[in-house]
Amino acid sequence: MSQPVIAVANLVKNYRAGVRRNIVQAVRGLSLSVPRGSIVAFVGPNGAGKTTTIHTLLGFLKPTAGRVRVFGESPGPAVARRIGYQPEIFYTYSFYSAREALRFYGQLAGMTSSALETAIPPLLDRMGLTDAGKRPISSYSKGMAQRLGLAQALIHDPELLILDEPTSGLDPEGRRLVLDIIVEEKSRGRTVFLSSHILSDVERTCDEVVMVRQGQVVMADRLSSFGAAGQQWDVEVFGWTAAHRDLIAGLATVVHENGGTAILRCEISEKQALLRMVVGVPLEIGSVQPMRAATLEETYLKHAGAAS
C-alpha cells in the first residue's frame, strides 16, 4: 500500500489565550490519514479544530505534540510546492487583477513565465473568470473571489489540494462548478483534503469522511457506507409473543419488541425462509424493508453535532 499523502498521528495543539494566558486545547490527539488519489472530507462544527489542523499541515502552526507528515515530510517550504491551498475566505492583494494574482502566486510556486502564459487562460476559463481577468480584484463579487481562490490553489498543478470550505459564499452555479472541478482533479489522480460544513457537497464528491469534535476524530469511514441499503432486512410482525422466539432461532434476531409487535432482522439469504415461517405461524406482516445505515447527516448529528 502506498504511503498516505497526509498522515497525522496524535496531534495536539495548545494555545495560550486571554489575559491570564490560560492554555486552550484546540486539537487533542487527532489522528488521520489521507490516501493518495482520494477525496477526504474533514467535517465538524465550528471550533472543532479543523482549521488549526489544516494550518498545522501547512506549517503555519507547530504541533504541541504528535506527528504531522505531508508526502512523508514535515510541513514546510519543501513540500509546499506540491500543495495547493484554498483558504475559507480568499484574501489577496486588491490591486492585482486575476491574471496578475495568478502570475504572482504561480511564480512564487516556481513556475516559469512561459508555463504561466500557457496555464492562466484555460484556468480563468475553467473558473468562468475570463471576462473579468483584467479587472482589479477589488471589483470582484464574493463568489468571483472565491473561484479565484480555487484558481490560485490550482495554478501550479499541485498533487494535493487542501480546500477549506471551497463552496462557501457561492451561488448554486458556482458551487456546482467548484464541485465538478474537485471531482475532475480526483480523476486526474490528485488528492483532495476538503473541509466543509455542507454535507451534501461532501456526499457528492468525497470518498471518505473524517468527523471531528472538540479537537478529536469522533468518526472516520468510507462515504459509501452511509445511508446505503445493507445486506440485512427488517421484518415487522404483529401478534408476536415470547413463545415465537424459538421459531425464528437461526433465521433472525429480535431487534425490537413492544407489546405484540416485533422487528426481526435477518440476512438477505434468510429472508424468504423467515417470511415463509412468519406466514405459516401465522403472524401478521407489517412491513419488510432493507436495513439502512445511518445517513451522513444522521451520523454527523450523532457524533459531531452540537447535541452529541
Binding site: 503555519f60 517550504p77 510546492r81 484574501y91 489577496t92 492583494y93 490591486f95 502566486y105 512564487l108 516556481g110
Partner: protein, 275 residues
C-alpha cells in the same frame, strides 16, 4: 532569490497602490513651503540673499530626507503586520516561501520605495538650487544622500523586523524610539554618575548610530557679517568627512542586519494564528 524579488516587487506595488502619488504631492508641497523663503525673499544684499537661499534649499533637502525616514518606519512597520492582519500572508506562505524570504522581500520593497522618494526629493532640491542659483557641493551631496540611504535601510529594516510581531503601532513606536535614542547616548555618557555612564555605554552598543542629516553642509553660504564684525576672518564651509560618514553608514547597516536577523529568527519560530 526570485521569490524575494517577487515579494519585493509586490511590496513596492502595494505601497504605490496606497495613493503614493498623493503622498509625494503632499511632500512636494511641504518642500515648497520650507523653501519658500528662497523663492520669495525681498532681500537685496547679495550675501544675505545667498545665505537665505542656501539655508532654504538645505532645509528643503533635510525635511525631504526626514520624510523618507518617516516613510521607511511607517511602511516597514505596516509591511508584515499588515499582511498578517489582512491575512494576505496565508496564500503567500502556503507556497514554498520561507518566512525570512517574505521579510527580506518586504524590506527591499519598502526600501526601494523610499529610495525612489529620496531620488525625487534630491532631483527637486537640485532643480530648486539651480533655479535660485545656489551652488551645491556635489561630493558632499553624494555623502549626505548615502547617509540618508543608510538611515532608510536601518529604520526600514528595524521596523520590518518588529512588524513581524504582528503589531504595526508597536513596531513603528519602537523603531522611532531606536531612531531617536542616539541623541540620549552622548549626554548619558558625559554624566559624572557611573550608572548613567554605564547606561549610555550599553545603549551605545545596542543602538545603531544616529541619523545625522548632512544637507546643511552641502548647500552652504556664509552667515552675512554684521558691520561690527568687519575685518573678522572669512567663514569657511566645514567639509564633510566622507570616510567617517561611510564608516558610520556601514556600521548602521550592520546594526540593521543584526536586528533583522533577530526578527527573522523569531518570526520563523512563532505560530501564525489567524482568528
Amino acid at each position: 532569490m526570485k521569490r524575494i524579488a517577487l515579494i519585493a516587487k509586490n511590496a513596492f506595488r502595494a505601497v504605490m497602490s496606497q495613493r503614493a502619488v498623493y503622498l509625494w504631492g503632499f511632500a512636494i508641497l511641504i518642500m515648497f513651503l520650507v523653501s519658500g523663503r528662497a523663492l520669495f525673499t525681498n532681500a537685496r544684499a547679495p550675501e544675505v540673499l545667498a545665505f537665505i537661499r542656501a539655508t532654504s534649499v538645505a532645509a528643503a533637502l533635510g525635511v525631504w530626507s526626514l520624510m523618507c525616514l518617516a516613510a521607511a518606519v511607517y511602511l516597514g512597520a505596516t509591511s508584515v503586520a499588515g499582511d498578517l492582519r489582512s491575512k494576505t500572508i496565508i496564500t503567500v506562505l502556503a507556497r514554498p516561501v520561507r518566512r525570512w524570504e517574505l521579510m527580506l522581500g518586504k524590506w527591499i520593497g519598502v526600501t526601494a520605495f523610499c529610495f525612489v522618494t529620496l531620488g525625487i526629493g534630491v532631483a527637486l532640491g537640485l532643480a530648486l538650487a539651480a533655479y535660485v542659483d545656489v551652488n551645491v557641493d556635489r561630493d558632499g551631496l553624494a555623502v549626505a544622500v548615502m547617509r540618508t540611504i543608510g538611515s532608510i535601510v536601518v529604520l526600514g529594516g528595524i521596523a520590518t523586523a518588529l512588524s513581524a510581531s504582528g503589531s504595526a503601532p508597536i513596531a513603528g513606536a519602537v523603531a522611532v524610539l531606536i531612531g531617536v535614542m542616539p541623541m540620549l547616548i552622548t549626554p548619558l555618557r558625559e554624566r559624572p554618575e557611573p550608572i548613567y555612564q554605564r547606561l549610555g555605554a550599553a545603549l551605545d552598543m545596542i543602538i545603531p548610530p544616529d541619523n545625522e542629516t548632512l544637507y546643511g553642509g552641502v548647500v552652504w553660504a556664509p552667515v552675512p557679517a554684521s558691520p561690527a564684525a568687519a575685518g573678522a576672518p572669512a567663514q569657511r564651509r566645514t567639509p564633510i568627512d566622507a570616510a567617517t560618514q561611510r564608516q558610520r553608514t556601514a556600521e548602521a547597516i550592520g546594526y540593521a542586519g543584526i536586528y533583522f536577523a533577530v526578527g527573522c529568527f523569531f518570526f520563523t519560530r512563532r505560530d501564525l494564528k489567524f482568528s
